[in-house]
């Protein structure tokens, strides 16, 4: 078993929390893991990504080779496209549709979404909206983790433990909000897949 994930977003959108939750779950499942993060300058509203590699065998490189990632999980639609060179031809493009516009030349969002939908294996959802409806506007990132969870070969309960682990200091309410957010993302993908009878 081997999963290579590219996490994408903009500095401050919480992709390191997604990585940490999966990392926690992987370690609890006795899997090997390498997870490279971007710290430093780009965290000031720049583009950021994280390579997350999980396997039952030793993982060598901290970086995923191009053309071989099983999925891109993105908290921002344009950012999901930036890492296409890393995605394997049968990989999944899983992205939030809510744009984060902090540059004057941000492209027409409809064209961005069209580009994403032209990709055969894609999951698109408005994670910000789902999170807000759950009363937890800040957990769009965790909604995205939930949306990707059916493709991640780690038992869902382990991912839930991951959420409990990384938010343990924030109290029960925050933990519950994030567990609900992850579940809402998961349900979205399940429904989408059964409607389109993809899997």
């Amino acid at each position: 078993m081997k999963i290579d994930i590219i996490l994408a977003g903009v500095g401050g959108q919480g992709i390191i929390s997604i990585a940490a939750a999966i990392g926690y779950a992987a370690v609890e499942s006795n899997l090997y893991l390498k997870q490279s993060e971007v710290h430093g300058m780009s965290q000031r509203g720049g583009e950021i990504q994280s390579h997350l590699r999980v396997s039952d065998k030793e993982v060598h490189s901290d970086l995923t080779p191009q053309g071989s990632a099983d999925m891109i999980i993105s908290v921002e639609p344009m950012e999901s496209l930036r890492y296409l060179p890393w995605l394997s031809p049968d990989g999944w493009l899983i992205t939030n549709t809510k744009p984060f516009i902090n540059v004057p030349n941000y492209p027409d969002i409809n064209l961005v979404l069209k580009e994403i939908e032209s990709f055969p294996n894609h999951i698109t959802l408005d994670a910000d909206d789902i999170a807000r409806k759950l009363g937890s506007a800040r957990s769009a990132n965790i909604v995205m983790l939930g949306a990707a969870s059916p493709f991640i070969e780690i038992p869902y309960e382990k991912l839930e433990n991951g959420i409990r682990g990384i938010f343990s200091r924030k109290g029960d309410k925050i933990i519950k909000q994030n567990l609900d957010s992850m579940m809402a993302g998961k349900e979205f993908t399940k429904n989408y897949l059964s409607e389109t009878s993809k899997v």
Partner: protein
């Protein structure tokens, strides 16, 4: 024992704590910052009384660590690659004095310049100082090398260097811990003259360092971190240094590498192992993240007919970070690639936060400078460097920490009047104060802005060294009180701020203006902590 999930940086920190560290010294700098921050957060480090406060700059950090080593305790000093330029005087000389308690210098390099002005390779400094260098290929080695490194340092009474690059510094993996050791007790050097580098003593000490080179080489030859892996296909041999070894192995996940491999993670180079692989193979491919250090060395010392492939002959790009694909191409493996990035995707450069105090400072400065020709603002390194980008386009230089004040003075000396310097509060105490003294002594016609946001923001919000005392420091250095102005950079004060700046620009002498308002990131942080305290 359960594995800890640690960044390469954190593995170094944990390895040091477990090895009986007594003090870590550092000035923040990506990608090294997380080493010290990990020790600062560690409960165990607190219980053991391990010193972990930030230093004013890398030179003071290096010297303080050397002072702790003098007492016989174990010390570590951490910095980003360019920090070693600042610390290079004590660093090079510490190889001559030698260490007493174990002393580790960690230099974190940034190939591809993810967050830096250059991609210099710290191994050159280690080689220059004639000290052993350890270059971990993964997080476990980062832990082990640090854990064992103090003993190595004490065995030869020599500081050692650990060199890593951004990718390892900022990547997490499972790490096995070793048993916790006691800290050393104070035990001063046996030879009380060891650290007195008078020429007559320095000559003796230098001989000891030179004599030790053979020992260091023998250690490298026998090191578990350097290994020779047999291969049947002798048409090429591969030397892979540090993290480059992983990129190589990534290409052989499903099959075995046919070529002989020499993995190098400890220097000086193990000459016998190098001779072995180069005598067996016609060609040698050198994979190293950073400058072509090993490549240049073996190009000169081995058989003239040996073909050396690497960064200098174009097999590997001359600049930038390595990755699995670059290595695949160099060893002739088919390269996979996904779809190209669609043309509509635009760059998203980092930018100043909405509400950042620097924005109002630059708005006021830009307006005040309208009546002068462009190109007179010398700046420095920090969040405020982002003002080089639109819509501000306010600054004309960013070279090294502290260079704003001194470059502005040089330009003013040449006749560019007024010249303006813009420096952050943390950068000012790092190395702007000495330059200001030069300007005070000559009453140079420059206007120095010290942007005081009460924090070292760019690197993630570390404590700034002189918050609340900048005004007194400037007065103490000799800035005239009537030309020392404190501003509140807010939109509602824009007009009065522009007026004050204009007056100081027109003054034919030294002025210091200190716009003072907290970084909004700290405001968020303190709000969070008060909330947590309330809970």
């Amino acid at each position: 024992m359960e594995k800890l999930l640690l960044l390469g940086d954190e593995a170094i920190a944990q390895g040091a704590i477990d090895a009986g560290l007594s003090g870590i010294y550092a000035y923040p700098g990506t990608p090294s910052t997380e080493i010290t921050e990990y020790v600062q957060r560690s409960k165990l480090a607190k219980e053991r009384g391990i010193h972990s406060d930030w230093s004013a700059n890398e030179k003071t950090a290096m010297e303080t660590a050397l002072g702790m080593s003098y007492t016989g305790k174990r010390a570590m000093v951490c910095m980003k690659h360019v920090g070693l330029n600042v610390a290079s005087d004590p660093f090079i000389n510490s190889a001559i004095t030698g260490a007493n308690g174990g002393l580790i210098v960690v230099a974190a390099d940034d190939p591809s310049m993810h967050s830096s002005q250059n991609e210099q390779d710290s191994r050159f400094y280690g080689k220059f100082a004639l000290i052993p260098i350890f270059e971990p290929s993964n997080q476990q080695e980062a832990y082990d090398m640090t854990y064992e490194g103090f003993e190595f340092s004490e065995k030869y009474e020599i500081p050692i260097m650990i060199r890593l690059t951004t990718r390892l510094a900022h990547s997490r993996a499972g790490v096995k811990q070793s048993a916790l050791k006691d800290q050393n007790k104070i035990s001063l050097p046996k030879d009380m003259r060891q650290f007195v580098l008078l020429p007559s003593i320095a000559r003796e000490r230098y001989k000891i360092l030179l004599d030790n080179q053979a020992n260091f080489e023998k250690e490298s030859e026998q090191s578990v971190y350097n290994k020779y892996v047999k291969g049947k296909d002798k048409s090429m041999g591969i030397i892979a240094c540090g993290i480059a070894y992983n990129y190589l192995m990534e290409n052989y996940t499903d099959d075995e590498c046919p070529f002989p491999i020499l993995k190098i993670s400890q220097y000086p180079l193990p000459i016998n192992l190098i001779k072995k692989i180069s005598s067996e193979c016609k060609k040698i491919l050198v994979l190293e993240d950073g400058y072509p250090l090993v490549e240049d060395m073996i190009n000169g010392i081995l058989d003239k007919d040996l073909i050396v492939l690497g960064r200098t002959n174009g097999t590997i790009p001359r600049d930038g970070e390595l990755d699995p694909n670059i290595v695949a191409e160099a060893i002739g493996k088919p390269i996979k690639k996904g779809k190209d990035v669609p043309g509509l995707v635009v760059g998203r450069p980092p930018s100043l936060c909405t509400g950042c105090p620097h924005i109002d400072s630059f708005d006021a400065l830009n307006e005040a400078l309208k009546e002068y020709s462009k190109g007179r603002v010398f700046s420095d390194i920090g969040c405020y460097t982002l003002s080089a980008l639109p819509p501000y386009e306010s600054i004309n230089s960013c070279v090294d920490m502290g260079a704003s004040v001194t470059m502005a003075k040089g330009a003013a000396d040449a006749g560019l009047k007024p010249s303006v310097a813009v420096v952050g509060d943390s950068t000012f105490t790092h190395s702007g104060m000495t330059g200001l003294l030069d300007a005070v002594n000559e009453n140079s016609p420059i206007t120095v802005f010290i942007l005081d946001n009460s924090i070292t923001a760019m690197t993630g919000g570390q404590k700034s060294h002189a918050t609340g005392r900048l005004e007194n420091i400037c007065l103490g250095i000799g800035v005239k009180p009537e030309h020392l102005k404190i501003l509140n950079p807010l939109k509602k004060h824009h007009e009065e701020n522009v007026k004050i700046i204009k007056d100081e620009l027109a003054y034919n002498g030294l002025s210091v203006i200190i716009p003072t308002r907290d970084c909004i990131e700290i405001i968020k942080k303190t709000k969070k902590t008060t909330k947590e305290i309330e809970k």
